[in-house]
Symmetry: D2
Subunit: 377 residues, 4 copies
């Protein structure tokens, strides 16, 4: 396959997620990053291009300049990766889509629900592909959960419990010059959600992916435990679904001792599944009345979503980067063939809107002292 | 020490908890069960006495008969153990207290908050000791959590997450003749709480013990997932405390794959603690910015509450029965000396009232569609 | 059942194992400790009796005195528990057996193989019951391993790996006044084996119990890592069995970070089993080509040996003391009925001899620079 | 940095390890695979080139052809990756080295010790760089173990225990057409070692890397449990070092229930370290008398070797491929700068010889019925 040529917006030196996108793009040899607007700072932009191996002439000052210049080339970029802080996603995506480029965008899709709904229209109108890197859905065992639930192995779904808790904002890092902490706790850059936007949307998206349904109502109790913090750093959320399914979600960035503790546990009338991101190659499955089973990446009783999402045999751990790369690999197939594998759906614009609707509902609920609210959008 | 002579109410053949009380009483050689009303069924009562090694003449038909006959003996019972279904606790405890006997009572203390408040008065009036077997507070590592929090090792408390989930009521066992399931799902015997009364009160009590504080408000979303079940079998509960501490609690008896999964995790401005009942000899402690530490029963950096609550060295697992027996051992010291070790407080009548107030608040909240309510009592 | 009356030899104040025997004896209400020679020190003997609740008149100065005085009583002791350092087992056991008493003896059975062989004859001649408290065989999941292997669930056995490693002798505790360390590292009290006698015999016995076979040859490499230590504190042992089974064993008391890490893993042509003493309620079972299963104490697919060895439901951890008490409970049945449950064999004199033969072979091998030697006895 | 141009020998369609090398080479954007002899089968060679994105004209029929043709190009390959079965390594490496190419070779370096010693001379003579992909030394926590031991944090080293056990050869897969099983159990392709060559050399190399020393003597008991198998599938190995350090190693490919269970545990007079490949982001560290600590990839108290070997923050699991890619990344630095970072030594020719010397000694020992032998080479 001829590699897909990518341009990049954001993600230059100092960005954690920019490097992740590039590794994910490179891992299977399906993409080349050949151009970009890596930073609004000219020096940093240039240096980043050099780091990455992009020709100096293709490190552009602005998205407009990139679009303009690339349009003229035979080897022009075909798609862009957007890896800026949240508030810049909308304009970047809009410009690229309207220029006919496909978009791979980091989450959350935009800073506000309004922007997300507007962007959804633009995606529809332009007909371009739009991928949202809710990377945790790339994990083989997460895909196996989805497959098993779809196959009815849990019976009627009853309740799930999702946790996404970290501790890196236990102290006011944003007041100590940590860039990543600064914009993530700044409403003008992140939007209305703090931890719920940064990591809660991941948990919410993973639940939607695994369960293949979305709640009708939720209730959220948001906290900002660190003095002076402007956005939430901890959230307890209850979710209700049509048909009786209920969920709870706990999101925190102040849970001392948790590096990136993201777990999903789901129970039905016939069985239960339990998964943990820090031990991602394993999945616990219990059929009611039977011993608990340890299912593994590429192991016995692997489903389609599992076997299609691995590179190396069971027992050889794959991790975060491989899961992220699975989205890139699957997106490459879509970009080349135009068709999505229905059994491996990729998060996109719809999931982006849902994520913002989740943040919006959490904020509305919490400002009503933790009342039940309906999800919009 | 001369052994304390116990009478027993309930807990005969077929009772899980009756046997537990007896093992706990025997373990340290501090008690003898010498009399009882083990069952309302005469045959079963007699057979139970024989099983236990109680003389046939001291297997009584009723509490009144036991009180009457024992009063006349030089070697009369000094205290009673109440191990009946919940709705029978009140009358049994009342009669015994008024007869001058100390009481060791299984939880929840009564079936209703009204009864609990009434019983609290009787305890006060009679001046007898009243112990409530919230046995999980007997675990050495639970006591270490309390000690460490009291010593300020977590800094200012922010949020905790408690889970007590099982799966033994995943199917309608109460419709299949399982005695334990029958009364636990029958409001006339259990009171208004199902899972929240049976196991939620344990989680709530443990939180109170470890944190040394009680919430002012809570919100509960109760479910009965099994068709025809009259009480809750799953609950999501949010708790708010004066001073900003918040907690979440998840209680379930339909979480397939969980035998007796009871965990407590608490986070403050300086550190975090994480404990799990199915692995009770271990406690995870993280000081912010430092590696996670594994604290063990009787191991390095054990606190007073830990070292006072063990029988054998680190690495030799103690379990549920030893934790239960710790309450008995500590109660024996109180019964003989009249004084409680302030560093090892035992659950009693006050905690009983708090437990029923918790059930009451959960039910009120849930019937108001999961609204915030104040705790009473 | 009328309680069995026990005398005790050793196990007074300051002894770890004495207390363990008493808790195990009391747990199920089947025994009473009513007499003893708890210490060779008269004061300590008296004080120990008081601690334990034995009448002062039955705290004897010597075994002979105990035998003499008890013989005259209607309520004489029926059996003795021997809980002294190893080198005193032989004389105590001999005297008691010849006086017609049954014996419950701590391991290893004697300090030398010669003594063990001699004692075996005495047991045979007197016809008394002799129980050896290799307590780890009392764990329900260990018994389940034995059952499953006997039922052929692993196919043809190929290899096992046993580890029993601790760290409490990492430093020269015996030179710092620690009693338990002193006699355990003193050849005149322990015999020729240090760690191999103290804990290696447990691992060896457990292997024999689970596999129902004994090796023909072994090779041992013993070390004394701590300067000045007179007995081994670390051992690597290879074992060969008739029919091709091979085993490895690693024993250590200087493995820093291991409290009482005792594991047993066994593999055959069809499956594998893995168990760990510090997490004793679980057993991992894999059928070749299938997902690993988590079997639990009292859980799904429990075998006879599992279900007969529990007191409380799955998920409520039982530990070291309950496993120890299982030997006492099963021994009580034998003492009262005269018959052993063939499905729950108890370690006795034969296992005692085997344990000493193991120590003897390890020492012979190691003194020949780690050569293969045949087991004797 | 300009990417290093690689040719590849072996590793075409159907090869597990070929794909691993390519992912590792691509991950950090430091290499391009531009040529190769991917298979001796012409069709498969061509198809493999197409899969990989190598121009058809650079998919050569033989190593000689590749050397010849590439020599003429301005963009010629600079190094080769050798990923064939073991017995083909020697000729391939020799030819490439003599043609002035650097070599990245899969392990074990050759099929025989003689070949390894001969190749060592060729490396010396040609002055080319030679990297051996003992990839487990690329794990951050393995590097941290090395750093901590070098810094004396364990005190004087006493004993280690290494396990590398799998189960994929439990049944005679080599008789059922599994290619990977065929050559690995065929002495003419693998050399004299079965499991000890395939995975034992990894364990042995990791021990050497972490401990920075090699044993003087070893003793091995090799087994072939599967009927008809010509090489060992299970091995127990004892190791002795100058100065008193001892090690044990257990290697198996028939341990049912183990996917790729590779652990390393090392104990000294002051502390212990424990690491497991299937949970590679964690390392357990105990200082004698202190609680066990959980050290993590990129976490608190990370050493140089840890922090230099990561791409993403703690809590975001990295795995086997990232560890493998660390060797490629470090090798790229050497290839470009000519200098190795002394703190991050890469396995090379010397380690290759040591690995074969290990296999040779194991086989010699085992054929002498498990006698102690000296290591040669």
């Amino acid at each position: 396959m001829i590699r897909i040529r990518l341009g990049m917006v954001g993600g230059g030196r100092g960005s954690f997620i920019g490097g992740v996108h590039r590794i994910a793009a490179r891992m299977d040899g399906l993409y080349d990053v050949v151009a970009g607007v890596f930073s609004s700072d000219a020096e940093r932009n240039k240096a980043s291009a050099e780091d990455i191996g992009v020709e100096a002439s293709r490190a552009y000052d602005s998205i407009e300049a990139m679009i303009e210049a690339e349009r003229a080339r035979a080897d022009a970029i075909e798609a862009v990766v957007i890896a800026t802080p949240n508030h810049l996603h909308f304009e970047a995506a809009k410009a690229c889509l309207e220029a006919g480029l496909h978009v791979i965008c980091d989450k959350p899709v935009t800073a506000t629900l309004e922007d997300a709904l507007e962007l959804e229209k633009i995606v529809g109108r332009t007909g371009r592909h739009f991928f949202l890197t809710h990377n945790y859905t790339g994990y083989p065992m997460v895909r196996q959960m989805r497959d098993m639930i779809a196959a009815g192995e849990l019976g009627e779904l009853r309740t799930f419990h999702a946790e996404y808790v970290q501790d890196w904002l236990t102290e006011p890092m944003e007041q100590r010059g940590a860039k990543g902490a600064e914009w993530r706790t700044d409403p003008s850059k992140s939007g209305a959600g703090g931890s719920i936007g940064d990591i809660g949307t991941h948990a919410y998206n993973l639940a939607g992916f695994v369960l293949d349904r979305r709640p009708s109502h939720l209730l959220a109790d948001l906290s900002s435990f660190v003095s002076g913090r402007r956005l939430d750093d901890n959230a307890s959320i209850l979710l209700r679904y049509e048909g009786g399914l209920k969920g709870t979600m706990w999101v925190s960035q102040v849970a001392v001792g948790n590096e990136n503790h993201f777990t999903f546990r789901i129970y039905g009338s016939k069985g239960g599944l339990e998964w943990e991101q820090e031990d991602p190659n394993r999945l616990w499955f219990t059929q009611y009345g039977e011993p608990k089973q340890l299912l593994t990446r590429g192991g016995a009783q692997a489903t389609y979503g599992n076997t299609q999402s691995i590179r190396i045999p069971a027992g050889h751990p794959e991790g975060f980067l491989e899961a992220f790369a699975n989205l890139y690999r699957d997106a490459a197939a879509v970009l080349r063939s135009g068709e999505t594998d229905r059994r491996l759906p990729l998060p996109g614009m719809k999931e982006g809107v849902q994520g913002l609707a989740f943040v919006d509902a959490c904020v509305r609920s919490s400002s009503s002292n933790g009342a039940w609210v309906e999800l919009i959008g």
